[in-house]
């Protein structure tokens, strides 16, 4: 009798597998190692599978997938396997797949923050480790590298004089989307200084609307817009990082007081209640509903405002007015976004180069820029979208933001990177006293700097 029950269990399991297997359109009986075996070498003419890794960011993801399909039909025998991972997992997956030699073309997200001489023994960022380990291909002499402007190659692709990555575009994050229609209905102008922003917010709220929304659940969206404020207060961001390291500037310096006070006002008075539950993308949907005046986040959200279910109102994008001097609020702070790099040990190096070359073709690249809303890194391309028009007056003033320079020294406490202050105030964290937080931030940083000496 008992044996019968076990038989029934086994039979039941088998049945379930069979039933599930029925849904599986590829037949799915391959139980062992069918997929993704590393190191499949392919001679010319033989079928090649090119393994591409990108991070998830619509509409870029869809565009790259379409481009890959096009590349397949242009190159018979080539199959492109595009793997998409969340931005948070990208570093992990890059590390594991490169170590396993299981990828050919990689999305280098954040080719920044090289360790400077004054930083002592700081841990180098992931990409630097990868280059030191010889895992990224030196592409200095590839002809298509010249399609990209020299600034982008130098600032987001070169290490020790060699080029390892071509960057696909700049993005701006130190600013905010502005709902022009809402401001007009309230009867106020787009703010150009901090005090104007404060009074506009009051007016907007008095009229029964919300001033700002954001994706608090994901953490970083809370402070990403305020990189613009930090930039407005301290235009030389690279210099600021160095000064913080050398002690010429401290987080609790009187010159910093505005920074802490204003991020507190921003976090507590300007952002609407409930943003802690919104993911980054969700905040854009929320904003599109129309009753919020500003959305301080990266300009890369623009395509989501333009698309289906997007905004029905007229909007623009302006630098975060963090300073009381309007002239300081003209800089657009941002970063270099995704770049392509090629795995040095790839068995398909030639195909990988062809893939990046096809992408780098000016016409293809123009299409990419138009779709994604990146600020082009090829001189021939233009950003001819609504966002492009909004950004045009500031484009001359593009600057790389604080987080692209900052490297956390070993031993620094969790409050040492004061540029994230906005996400540390109530309701996003436990701080309520701006001055106390400034003191704590400096203590957390100082503890690590003392160890460097």
């Amino acid at each position: 009798m008992r044996r019968m029950k076990w038989l029934a269990l086994v039979a039941a399991l088998a049945l379930v597998f069979a039933a599930c297997g029925g849904d599986d359109d590829t037949g799915g009986s391959d139980t062992t190692g069918a997929g993704g075996e590393p190191g499949t070498t392919a001679a010319a003419g033989e079928p090649v599978t090119l393994r591409v890794l990108i991070h998830s960011q619509e509409p870029m993801t869809t565009w790259v997938q379409d481009f890959s399909t096009q590349f397949e039909s242009d190159n018979p025998g080539v199959t492109v396997d595009v793997a998409v991972v969340g931005a948070g997992d990208l570093a992990t997956v890059t590390q594991t797949r490169l170590s396993a030699n299981d990828v050919d073309v990689i999305d280098m997200f954040g080719f920044a923050n090289p360790v400077q001489d004054y930083m002592g023994g700081a841990t180098p960022p992931a990409w630097q480790t990868l280059i030191d380990a010889g895992l990224l291909l030196d592409i200095t002499d590839e002809p298509w590298v010249a399609n990209y402007d020299t600034a982008s190659i130098e600032q987001a692709g070169t290490f020790n004089g060699r080029v390892y990555s071509v960057n696909l575009g700049r993005t701006v994050y130190g600013g905010m989307f502005v709902n022009n229609d809402l401001l007009a209905s309230v009867g106020v102008e787009v703010p150009t200084t901090w005090s104007e922003l404060v009074s506009v917010c009051d007016a907007v709220k008095a009229a029964g609307n919300q001033c700002m929304t954001n994706g608090g659940q994901d953490g970083w969206p809370v402070f990403v817009g305020t990189y613009g404020m930090l930039g407005a207060l301290f235009p030389d961001q690279a210099g600021l990082v160095e000064a913080l390291y050398t002690g010429e500037m401290t987080w609790d310096d009187p010159a910093m007081a505005d920074w802490w006070d204003r991020t507190k006002v921003y976090a507590q008075d300007m952002l609407e209640p409930g943003t802690t539950g919104l993911a980054h993308d969700a905040a854009t949907f929320r904003y599109a509903a129309g009753d919020v005046a500003f959305l301080p986040t990266g300009a890369w959200q623009a395509p989501n405002l333009e698309g289906d279910g997007g905004a029905t109102f007229d909007w623009t994008y302006v630098p975060f007015p963090g300073s009381d001097d309007a002239a300081d609020n003209q800089n657009l702070f941002g970063k270099y976004d995704q770049g392509w790099a090629i795995a040095a040990n790839s068995p398909n190096v030639e195909v990988a180069k062809a893939y990046v070359a096809a992408f780098s073709d000016p016409d293809t690249y123009q299409e990419f820029v138009t779709t994604t809303g990146f600020i082009p890194t090829q001189a021939t391309a233009t950003l001819d979208t609504k966002l492009g028009q909004a950004l045009a007056p500031y484009l001359e003033n593009f600057q790389v933001g604080f987080e692209q320079y900052w490297v956390q020294p070993a031993g620094a406490g969790q409050w040492a990177n004061g540029s994230q202050a906005a996400s540390w105030f109530v309701p996003f964290n436990e701080w309520d006293d701006a001055a106390a937080l400034a003191t704590q931030a400096q203590a957390d940083l100082q503890a690590a700097l003392d160890e460097l000496q």
């Binding site: 269990l9 599986d24 997929g35 993704g36 075996e37 998409v84 948070g88 396993a100 299981d102």
Partner: protein, 297 residues
Amino acid sequence: MTIPRDDAPEMIVPALDAEPPVVERVGKGFPWGKVISYVVLSLFALLYLAPLFMLVNASFKPLSEFFRDPIGLASGINFDNYTKAWELANFPRYLLNSAIYTAIATAVFVFTTLFVAFPISRGIIKGGGAILTLYVVALFLPPALIPQFQLILNLGLYNTRVGYIMLFLVNAIGMIIVVNYIKSIPKELDESAAVDGCGYFRFVWSIVLPLIRPAIATVTVLHAIGIWNELILPTIYLTNSDLYPITRGLIVFQGQYGSDWPALASAVLMLMLPMLVLFMFLQRYIIGGLTSGAVKG
């Protein structure tokens, strides 16, 4: 550090097939006890039903309606979100993968465990005590994520089903449960089997195994639940989406469409349905298994 092998905790009990008699704790008169029990249980049940209901409700809402009013009743039953979620991700495959990993790894684990546990429990091999000590200490080892990764990489098993399954072939707590249970089987049995000329393998396989079935059922279920729920290891070891188990598939889906709560809720419900059916079907075995080997001394 040495731990005598009898130090391992006792957690043993015979089979629990039929529902044993229920304790009647309430006296005569109005059954206050029962009423209070129902109230407490129902309040608690609310904590389990409400999130479920919220999920179903959200899945029927268009996105814009959800953002306007997340908890109001859906204005109508509409399956658009289900179609959308179904098209966006390959959930049947993820489910199948999870089933394959769970079934194979558990089967291998149980088979190998039996032959490690028996000689240790019986004390018929030299060094058995030391081996058991090793298992007891290992109960407390943190998962050795990093060297394990290097190991699988060097074996060339990264991003393969075999490599992933390998990670789940051992389980110290399961081993200890089995070792302890075997002690409850009289040693006279060994003697009479040996007298009858029964070989070692046949004895363990066809005589001991049926007798320790409750313990085997327990470790099977505990181990299977662990594999079914694993989230970190697929992140590290599986990059090919064809190989994802549901945990990974779902979290990638969330990463990509995370703000689309209605679609996400639909995806979750579609995944839950086969799991719940499977659970209902196997409930007796899962619950019996979870409990029977773990509870008697």
